[in-house]
Amino acid sequence: MAMLEVQNVHAYYGKIHALKNVSLKIEKGEIVTLIGGNGAGKSTTLRTISGLLKPREGAILLNGENLADYKAHQIVTKGITQVPEGRRIFGQLTVTENLDMGAFICRDKKLIAENVERIFEMFPRLNERRKQVAGTLSGGEQQMLAMGRALMSNPEILLLDEPSMGLAPVLVDAVFETIQKLHAAGTTILLVEQNARMALQVASRGYVIQTGEVVLHDVADSLLNNDMVRKSYMGEN
């Protein structure tokens, strides 16, 4: 049984049919990537998994349990945490307070303190700025904070929405290194990216989504060599 299973999901924004019969499967310990153009429905898929948007049809199963009746904040307690697009850190809270909010579902103070130390080890820059208000961090630091904040809840599955967006190339590399580190540590990851090449290099499998429909699904290596993917998403002729 797959760890996370999206089954024939249809989702709407008002009258706009945003997801049409989307199905995905993610096995434990995998990195799966979802690639597609602007407005294809990548973020919408993640929003639906996280419960911010409820599917009108279809089901989302985590370890076989249907998530339909849970609200967004309850889905976090089930083990799915999302790093939203554009980072969305709490700009007026300090770095430590942001991390503390990431662990909101956790009541064990010792565990929270351990997690904070773990995150600071992973991102030493954040440690240097722990008392700083998060809105004053640079874009790269904010991305680290957003990922660190999500990891504070010890998620079984991490949903990453465009983690490389708006970052300098050297920082993009750092983000992908972090993703590989997390994978090595056993975290299951669903990665949404416009940077298809890098995403497929770290992922084991990939789904291609166009105008709300999954049009292609294969192992990452085949997608990297697929003509359509190369043309549409890697800028090759």
């Binding site: 996280s50 419960g51 911010l52 609200k71 967004a72 904040h73 309850q74 976090v76 307690t77 945490t81 999302q82 939203p84 969305r88 850190i89 709490f90 700009g91 007026q92 809270l93 307070e97 503390d100 909010m101 990431g102 909101f104 579902i105 809105g135 904040r149 999500a150 809840s153």
Partner: protein, 353 residues
Amino acid sequence: MFQKWKDRIDVTDIVMWLIGLTLLSLVLWGSISTLRAGLYTGRHWVDFLIFGLAQGSIYALIATGYTMVYGVLKMINFAHGEVFMSGPFTAYFVAIALWQSDFLDNYPIIGLMIIFLSSMAVSTTIAYFLEKIAYRPLRGAPRLIPLITAIGASFFLQYLFLGLYGSGIQAYPDMEILTGFWMVAGVRILRIQVVVIIASVLLMVALYSFIMLTRVGKAIRAVSEDKEAAALMGISVDGMISTTFVIGGMAAGAAGVLYALMYKQVYFFMGFIPGLKAFTAAVLGGIGNIPGAMLGGLFLGLIESVGPSLFLDGLGIVAPYQLKDAIAFTMLVMVLIFRPTGIMGERLSAKKA
């Protein structure tokens, strides 16, 4: 260069600046002539100041309710004045019962505690259900709709309490420990005013510490900034909004008893004017900003108490104190025109950027 400058300024701006300047010069002229005429001595000014602080700290407590709700919902809860009224109006019956049984005279501190707690309990309950029944179903509706609902809820609560307790003005019982005055450095200070100021400051410190230091307080600030991101962190957005109303209700309930003890009277319409004033204070301080609301409240109280005699007496106005509400609301209009973000507004504009 000059052409560009001319293009950017239109007639409305000029009229607004003229109105502003006229008011400013009136205020200056009035103040100078009042001071030169020597109508009031130093002791009078100290009296005005202390009364202003007492009045202002009550405004400040109510204003925190407006500003916190604006923070999480981006909506003005116009029924907050009625949340403020419901507590002390209900606690009046508790106070009278305690007074008639001589409990209030024998154990004044415990008696006051009971009155405070019952008022806060009622205001909190009203605030909680107000959000749950009137505002929660409208989450996600265009912003005008909850605003209209708030005005409707305000009327509903006024007439609910009119129906429950009658239309008469009820007098809070006199308490010996709160009457009389203390002499401090040769200045006579009314006890009740000192009690009001100290109690309000303690409550504001408690409220601010709660928001800044506790996890729930941080979560409320997180929800104010970004509801979706907060939900993605496992924070119950609805839960935090309820908590915000509960805290605002507690502050309003406590402020209500202080108000009732100072003015000795409660009735179903008592929340209207203080509610508007506290809203003015919240805008003055920069809506959404908690320290701003507190400062705005104190500032408004001071201006209302010092302003009429300072600005208006010298202009030869016969009954300057009748114009204190006019001063308060003129200030609201001036702030909205010249500094829409309020006194502590920088942070708010930074948040939106």
